[in-house]
Amino acid sequence: MNRNVSRIFAALFGILAIALPLFAGDYPLQVARNIMLYMALAITWDMLLRSGQISFGIAGLFGVGAYAAILGVIRAGMPAWFSIIFAAIFSGVVAFAIGFLILRLRAMYFSIVTLALGEIFRIIIHNLHDFTGGPEGVVMQQGVIFGGSAGKLYWLTLAGLAVAIAASYWFEKSKIHFALTAIRNNEISAKSSGVNIFRWLLLAFVVTSAIQGLLGGIFVQSYGFATPDTVFSADFTLLPLAMALLGGVYSTRGPIFGAILLGLVSEWLKLKIPYGHLVVYGIIIIIVILFMPQGLKQLVRQPANKTDRRSA
């Protein structure tokens, strides 16, 4: 009964999301695009988090994807649509290679190294002037994909989000869910149940990184240019993290709710306080960690839910 209701809601919401460009103006579409982009990144961050690994490197792989796409178009003459796929593949391959080194690390060491890797990617792009355009970045001569049509750009971002949601559901409904949950809870007992820890971590890392790269490709195609400071911006790490934490981690729904809520609030704040509106994100992270470790899920959860401990 309850499940059906939520399914109907999800379906309605999906239809609404697809149909939005038919009745919304350019500004709401632009806001919606931003929110969807961060939402998708939040979902990918959460997907890896389900294994217990906290990445601070979202911006790094997002930026790598962004540059792969734009340089693919400019240097290799790829069609715009293909460059987006190329971005996903490229980030995935990069993640696969570095995964062999860094997925042996745990806890703070993993987190710090992902943060450092993001910086390394940024500096490399920054310094390879001749190939990447250096600090000034690169602009696509042929301009934004779809001639900048607001509706089509919206659908493109929506498609990226759909990929993230689909992947997240795949993670939730398949063996991967068991593997990652077992690893997060206790690696030693996971091994004793036959879980090849490294293999599953590598899978999760490569898939989430590829989606982050895909989103970078979509981002860069939607704006027609890339500079190291825009595509490697710490915002791409910070905002998704805050959104997922606020909505509630280890699920697909949590980051979705968190992104809608925080996205709308920050859009409003951006107009009110141009400098420093991001302070809200910092404060939300602090409050969530200290007072509501399960995020908003904690508030909306029904008392009869099987994972609720205190009631019943």
Binding site: S174, K175, F178, A179, T181, A182, N185, N186, I188, S189, A190, K191, S192, S193, G194, V195, N196, I197, Y250, K306, T307, R309
Partner: protein
Amino acid sequence: MSKLKTENLTRRFLGLVAVNNVSFSMEEGEILGIIGPNGAGKTTFINLISGIIMPSEGLIEYKGQDITYIPAHERARMGIARTYQLIHPLENLTLIENVMVGSIFAKGNGLKEARRRAEALCQELGLTGLDRDTSRLTILEIKKMEIARALANEPEVLFLDEVMAGLNADETKDIIAMVQKIAQERHLAVGVVEHVMGVIRELTHRVIVLEAGELIAEGKYEDVSKNPRVIEAYLGGGAA
């Protein structure tokens, strides 16, 4: 041929010898007690056999195959299963899902098949309310779930690390009977680490005694318990 055997198995930690030159073997259908005072190296010994840590020296053979340096998850697939002294049920997974993990990864079953097998296992062990969160289980249920999780690997060798700890007399009896039945029906070789000597006497066919990492005695419990060296170890160690 023995199911499992070790030769001169040794593990050092920073100069401290936790397991020293232990050679032993286990046969099909046998329930072996592994006893010794606190800190004798019993858990380290099981960790070595299940591959959680690697030995400094020595050899481990499983069904005639050298598995000394094979990683833990592969040993689980080959048929070596174990439970842990400190229990860690997987949070965010239900009882049945906990049991499914072994079936999925050690046996490579799909989710549906794994669930079917896990249900059968739970029924066999008398576990009900399979969709409950693990935080709602009693200690006895958690212990049974741990055993079910290990059995979901469909092992040929099973190690139980202090599985009776924290249970009352009736519950202990329940588990003893269960382990005996499981071992017999599945022709398992079972290794049991236990502090309560009554349990060892009732449950095991044979025991080995470790002290300071060394194997100091081996045989039927009745004989070993009269061995002066064993008595000395227990009295000297101040535990039992």
